[in-house]
């Protein structure tokens, strides 16, 4: 739909779609609680269980090493599902209300992406606090600065994954594909992200797979911010590489998501 893409962006439309995402997130308390609890169990049980066994990586305790990974998991699942929720909007009809309005689809999708990124980041911040109470981070001024940078990193990471969710959600026609999405997209992305183990302890083929996972760079970025550590494998420019890969992934996914969404039939 070329004429759709040519329409100007509407700040009001972006804002209202974003606000709707926030309201819905805030009201779905059960979802927030269950997601936080899930991450909490990971931190405590894996942290204690595996931690007692492996001790730690990259000079920090295992629970500290794992905390950015678990935050990454919450960001990943939260943002992709937030994007995929366009399926629900279509199924329950609200999509028509948005599409018949005199605003471009691009405005709607930008609102959706900002909203999804914001809610997933809120989720990440909650977990950061929880992990802090569990002793994963050393309270210091340096950590505080890192945490602020971490919030920025979270927004950067989630934007691309909301875009991925929108791209997938725009092509799905029913809820049945959710299970497939979860098994074949989300879990591999999460498990290859290096949340639980460093990249240099696994065999080469797995290392290659991990380097292909955008979430790997996301978790790297979070570790830089929250722990001040990073894998040696990416070399001295590890931080820049991670930011670069995540940013490129963002742009790519937002473009693809917008394109798929604009093409989707009502």
């Amino acid at each position: 739909m070329k004429h759709e893409m040519a329409q100007p962006l509407s700040g009001q439309a972006i804002y209202v779609v974003l606000m709707r995402e926030l309201k819905r997130y805030w009201r779905a308390k059960a979802r927030v609680v269950s997601s936080v609890a899930q991450s909490f169990f990971f931190l405590v049980i894996f942290g204690l269980g595996l931690g007692g066994f492996v001790g730690g990586f990259e000079g920090v305790d295992y629970i500290s090493y794992m905390a950015p990974g678990v935050i990454g998991m919450a960001l990943l699942f939260g943002s992709v599902f937030s994007g995929v929720s366009v399926v629900f909007d279509r199924q329950f009809g609200f999509m028509k209300e948005m599409l018949v309005a005199p605003v471009s689809r691009t405005s709607i999708i930008i609102g959706k992406i900002l909203g999804g990124a914001t809610t997933a980041t809120i989720q990440g911040i909650i977990l950061m606090v929880v992990a802090g109470f569990l002793g994963a981070f050393t309270p210091s001024l340096a950590f505080l600065a890192g945490a602020v940078a971490g919030v920025g990193a979270m927004l950067l990471i989630t934007s691309g994954f909301v875009g991925l969710g929108v791209a997938i959600g725009s092509t799905l026609n029913d809820f049945h594909a959710f299970q497939l999405l979860s098994t074949f997209v989300m879990w591999p992305l999460f498990m290859l992200s290096g949340a639980f183990f460093p990249i240099d302890v696994v065999p080469l083929p797995l290392q290659v797979a991990m380097l292909c996972d955008p979430m790997f760079y996301g978790v790297e970025l979070l570790r830089w911010c929250l722990l001040g550590t990073g894998t040696q494998l990416l070399g001295p420019f590890g931080l820049l590489i991670s930011i670069g890969v995540v940013a490129i992934f963002d742009i790519l996914m937002i473009v693809i998501g917008t394109f798929q969404f604009s093409r989707a039939q009502i």
């Binding site: 739909m1 004429h3 329409q7 509407s10 009001q12 439309a13 804002y15 209202v16 709707r20 309201k23 819905r24 009201r27 779905a28 329950f92 009809g93 609200f94 999509m95 028509k96 209300e97 948005m98 599409l99 018949v100 309005a101 005199p102 605003v103 093409r263 039939q265 009502i266």
Partner: protein, 355 residues
């Protein structure tokens, strides 16, 4: 859709009447720029749907057939969302929200979540939302589908009020003939993507001169013996076995139509009556009241037992049957129609492509 052409006057209520799948919603989707026409064009409020989709969208309110509310938001939040999407300034927006809530009498429930609303309340909220941005034209797609009679009546009152007091031009679709009759100034009967006829309800009914006399036989078999006796009466304009809804009957009737075009049934429009009944015969009769004694006498003489005789003025149901040859309520009844509709839908998809 196949070569549809019509105009709607400002301040009018125009109704599309036709069975499910006739192409009513498709027409509205094209007019609202949700779908692009494969050929032809239209102007809404002076704006071309192909070249000025934004201006068209700004001029219209569209109340969809299925609910398009966010049930996790309150009524007021749904309206606020809409107001912002249409770029209304804060003051105008808040003022308009109160106004439209007042119109549909939802002010006291405005802060409740929509998931707690009844079907009728949701419908009213959607109508309110459609009005929020002062559209010149309001599209209502099956506004009372699935609502109980009382709620339907109240929605009708709201629609009439909007049209008469607020001067909103309304285009609605329906497959309820009584709804079209009650609400619409003009009706466009649409079937298989074609406009069959367009006129005022009164003119449409006036096309069927005479009265409808329905005979209910004790024994359905008697219809076969009695019918030929009626066929040579010049004061009987049309005769029809009231559709039974039985697939076999529908198919054999259609076969009969093709094989014997001179047969009265074949006269495309020989069917009358709203409800389906296998023991009934419908007659369109000049001066029906005076002819009933004659019909009863004829039945007595031939030993046919009539259980009841009903006399009424033709309704839009009869008009629909006459102009389309089908009963509007029978749409699921006939395999022939289903096959035909399926084929037409496929053609439409093949040509239509992406919107």
């Amino acid at each position: 859709m196949d070569n549809i052409s019509f105009t709607v006057k400002e301040g009018e209520i125009l109704g599309f009447l036709g069975p499910n799948g006739a192409g009513k919603t498709t027409t509205l989707n094209i007019l609202s720029t949700l779908l692009r026409p494969t050929s032809g064009t239209a102007t809404v409020n002076g704006h071309d749907i192909r070249t000025e989709p934004d201006a068209v969208r700004r001029s219209i309110g569209y109340v969809f057939q299925d609910t398009t509310l966010d049930i996790d938001l309150t009524g007021r939040e749904n309206l606020d969302f809409h107001g912002r999407l249409y770029g209304l300034e804060r003051n105008t927006r808040q003022q308009r929200i109160e106004e439209v809530l007042e119109i549909v009498q939802l002010t006291d429930r405005a802060n409740n979540f929509v998931k707690t609303y009844s079907g009728g309340m949701k419908r009213r909220l959607e109508i309110a939302r459609g009005l929020l941005h002062h559209p010149k034209v309001l599209f209502l797609d099956e506004p009372t589908l699935g609502l109980d009679p009382q709620t339907r009546r109240s929605i009708w009152e709201h629609i009439v009020h909007l049209n008469q007091e607020k001067g909103v031009t309304i285009i609605l679709t329906t497959h309820y003939t009584e709804e079209a009759d009650y609400l619409c100034k003009r009706i466009l009967i649409i079937d298989f993507g074609k406009v069959v006829v367009m006129d005022t309800p009164d003119n449409l009914k006036a096309r069927l001169e005479g009265d409808v006399v329905t005979l209910l036989f004790k024994d359905p078999a008697a219809i076969v013996t009695f019918r030929p006796l009626l066929e040579n009466k010049e004061w009987i304009r049309r005769i029809n076995i009231v559709a039974s809804g039985n697939n076999y009957a529908a198919i054999s009737r259609m076969m009969q139509d093709h094989q014997n075009p001179k047969h009265p049934v074949a006269d495309n429009g020989a069917q009358f009556g709203g409800e389906t009944c296998s023991k009934c015969l419908n007659l369109l009769v000049d001066n029906g009241g005076h002819r009933i004694p004659e019909i009863v006498k004829l039945a007595d003489e031939t030993g046919v037992v009539l259980e009841s005789v009903e006399l009424r003025k033709p309704t839009l149901d009869d008009v629909f049957l006459t102009v389309t040859g089908r009963n509007i309520r029978e749409e699921e009844g006939s395999i022939v129609d289903m096959v035909r509709r399926h084929r037409i839908m496929q053609q439409a998809r093949g040509h239509g492509g992406r919107g």
